[in-house]
C-alpha cells in the first residue's frame, strides 16, 4: 500500500483535484483519504460548494452592444490604417482633396465642408468643391462618425449627409461618386446607429455600376456576416446578391447559412445561393457537405427544402 496522505496535503490539493489537474497517483491518494477521513470530507464538501459558487456566479455574458462597440472601434482603426497606407482612392485622400482645393464658395458661420452637387460624370471638378476655410489637417483628424443623412433617397441620383470628425463635415454629391461610397462603406463598419448603417447600404447599392467595388464588396460581406443587427445583415446580403456573385460572395452565403441565428436571413442566403448556382457558380465539396447538414438539421422547413433542391442538382 502506498503512502498515506496527510490532512495538510489533502487541503492543499483540494483545489487542483476539483480542477481535475492531479496526476493519477495523487488523485488515487486523494480519493482514499477522502473516503477515510470524515473531517477532510466535510472540508472538501464546503470547498467544493465554494468553487462551484465561483463558477456559477462569475458573469460570463458580454453585453452585445459593448461587443459591437468594441468591434466598430477596431474596424475603424484598421480601416483608417489601411487608408493611411494606401496611395489612391481613399477616404483620406478624398477628404484632403476637399480641404486643400480652393474655395469656390464660402459658407459663413458654419464649419461645413460642402461638395457641390455632382452630376453625371463631372466628378471632382474644382468648381464643384466648396469649403469655407483652408485648414491644414493631419490624418488623425479623419475619424468619421455620427453620419446623419439629409437625403438618402437614391431616386434623384444624389445623396446628402453630415458627419463628425475633428472638423464637422457636410457632403452633398452624386451617389455614384466612389469616394462618397467609400465614406459610406466606412460608416457601415463603424456607425453605432443601425438606421444609418441601413441607409448607407441602400445608398451604396443604388449606384449605376454593375460591378461592385472590391472594397465595398468586402465591407458588405463583413456586414452580412457579423453585424449585430439582423436587418442590417439582411440588407447587406441582398445588396451582395444584386451584384455579380463570385466565389467570395458564395463563401459568405455559405457562412451565413451555417451560422446566422435568424431563419429569415438563412432563407435569404439559400435563395441567393440557388440563384448563384443557376448562374454558374460551382459549389465545392465542403459547401455540399454543409448543405447536406442543413438539409437534415436546420430548424427551418424552407431552408431544409431548398438545401435538398440544391443537392439534387449535384
Amino acid at each position: 500500500m502506498g503512502k498515506q496522505m496527510e490532512h495538510k496535503e489533502f487541503l492543499e490539493l483540494m483545489q487542483f483535484y476539483l480542477y481535475d489537474e492531479l496526476d493519477i497517483t495523487k488523485k488515487n491518494m486523494f480519493d482514499a483519504h477522502l473516503k477515510s477521513c470524515n473531517e477532510c470530507s466535510k472540508e472538501f464538501e464546503a470547498f467544493k460548494e465554494f468553487i462551484s459558487s465561483l463558477s456559477d456566479e462569475i458573469d460570463k455574458d458580454v453585453d452585445p452592444a459593448l461587443l459591437q462597440d468594441a468591434r466598430s472601434e477596431l474596424r475603424g482603426y484598421i480601416r483608417a490604417s489601411k487608408f493611411n497606407n494606401s496611395n489612391n482612392n481613399s477616404v483620406l485622400d478624398f477628404l484632403k482633396n476637399i480641404i486643400y482645393k480652393p474655395a469656390g464658395l464660402a459658407f459663413g458661420g458654419l464649419s461645413l465642408l460642402l461638395i457641390g452637387v455632382f452630376s453625371g460624370y463631372l466628378l471632382f471638378k474644382e468648381s464643384n468643391i466648396i469649403t469655407d476655410n483652408n485648414q491644414n489637417l493631419n490624418s488623425d483628424q479623419y475619424k468619421i462618425q455620427n453620419i446623419n443623412f439629409i437625403d438618402s433617397d437614391p431616386a434623384d441620383g444624389k445623396v446628402e449627409f453630415t458627419f463628425e470628425s475633428l472638423t464637422p463635415g457636410h457632403i452633398k454629391g452624386d451617389i455614384n461618386n466612389p469616394e462618397i461610397q467609400n465614406i459610406l462603406s466606412y460608416a457601415l463598419l463603424t456607425e453605432q446607429n443601425p438606421g444609418t448603417r441601413l441607409n448607407s447600404i441602400n445608398v451604396i447599392n443604388a449606384t449605376n455600376s454593375t460591378k461592385m467595388d472590391e472594397e465595398i464588396k468586402q465591407t458588405f460581406i463583413s456586414v452580412a456576416k457579423y453585424d449585430v443587427n439582423p436587418g442590417v445583415r439582411r440588407e447587406a446580403l441582398k445588396a451582395l446578391s444584386e451584384t455579380q456573385v463570385d466565389n467570395e460572395i458564395k463563401d459568405a452565403l455559405i457562412y451565413v447559412l451555417l451560422n446566422d441565428t435568424s431563419s429569415g436571413i438563412r432563407i435569404e442566403a439559400i435563395n441567393n445561393l440557388i440563384t448563384a448556382s443557376k448562374k454558374g457558380i460551382r459549389l465545392s465539396q465542403n459547401d455540399l457537405t454543409i448543405l447536406k447538414e442543413k438539409m437534415s438539421s436546420d430548424n427551418n422547413n424552407y431552408v431544409r427544402f431548398q438545401a435538398k433542391n440544391i443537392l439534387k442538382e449535384y
Binding site: E12, Q15, F16, Y19, E21, F47, E49, F50, I51, S53, L54, S55, E57, I58, D59, K60, V62, D63, L66, L67, D69, A70, R71, E73, L74, R75, Y77, I78, S81, K82, Q218, I221, S222, K225, Y226, E248, D251, A252, I254, Y255, L258, N259, T261, N286
Partner: protein, 190 residues
C-alpha cells in the same frame, strides 16, 4: 452560439497575411468575445475593457505577419491579452498609487443599497456577484489573470502557463493564493 468554422485558424492567418481582410475579421471574431470578457472582468470597467480589446487586436493585427505557427493562435492571442491586461493594470496602479490596503478597504465597504423589484434570490445572487467582482479586484494582476483564464475560460494550468509565459508551478501558486484570498473575503456569502 459557437461559430461554425469553415477554415482553421492557421488557414485564416495565411489568408490574412496574403491581404484578405475578411479572413482577419473571421479569425478575430472567433475569439474577441473571450478577450473582451476577460478584459471586462479584469478591469471591471467597460471603457477600460474596450481599450484593452483595441490594444490586443491592434497588436495581433500588427504581429500576425510574424506569427510562426509554433503555437496555437489562441495561445498566442491570450498571451497578448494577458500581457496587455497586466501591463494596463500595473500602469494604472502606478498612476493612481493605489495601495493594497486601499483596495481591501474598497472591498470591505458595503454594497450600495439599491431599490429593486427583483425577486429576493436574484438580489442575493446579484449581491454575491458584486462581492465576487470586488473580491477579484483585490487580487494581484497575475493572480487575477490566472484565476480568470481558469474559472472564466476553463483553460488547463499547462495552457495558462504557456499563455502567461510562466512555469506551471507558478500558475498553481497564483491560483492557490487567488482562491484562498477570495474564500477569505467571501466567507459566509456563498
Amino acid at each position: 452560439m459557437k461559430e461554425k468554422m469553415l477554415l482553421s485558424d492557421n488557414e485564416l492567418i495565411i489568408k490574412t497575411n496574403n491581404g484578405d481582410a475578411l479572413a482577419f475579421e473571421e479569425l478575430i471574431y472567433r475569439y474577441d468575445k473571450m478577450v473582451l470578457r476577460i478584459a471586462l472582468k479584469f478591469t471591471n470597467d467597460e471603457d477600460e475593457a474596450k481599450d484593452i480589446y483595441q490594444e490586443v487586436f491592434i497588436k495581433v493585427y500588427k504581429g500576425l505577419q510574424n506569427f510562426q505557427f509554433k503555437s496555437e493562435f489562441s495561445t498566442w492571442l491570450f498571451r497578448i491579452t494577458s500581457n496587455v491586461c497586466i501591463t494596463f493594470k500595473r500602469s494604472k496602479q502606478k498612476k493612481q498609487q493605489i495601495s493594497i490596503d486601499d483596495a481591501e478597504d474598497s472591498f470591505t465597504s458595503t454594497i450600495a443599497d439599491t431599490e429593486s423589484d427583483l425577486p429576493d434570490t436574484l438580489v442575493i445572487k446579484s449581491e454575491f456577484n458584486d462581492k465576487l467582482n470586488n473580491a477579484i479586484e483585490t487580487l494581484s494582476p497575475n493572480q487575477k489573470m490566472s484565476f480568470l483564464l481558469k474559472h472564466l475560460e476553463g483553460y488547463k494550468i499547462k495552457e495558462i502557463a504557456v499563455m502567461m509565459n510562466c512555469k506551471e508551478g507558478t500558475i498553481k501558486k497564483y491560483l492557490f493564493d487567488a482562491v484562498r484570498r477570495l474564500k477569505l473575503q467571501l466567507e459566509g456569502n456563498y
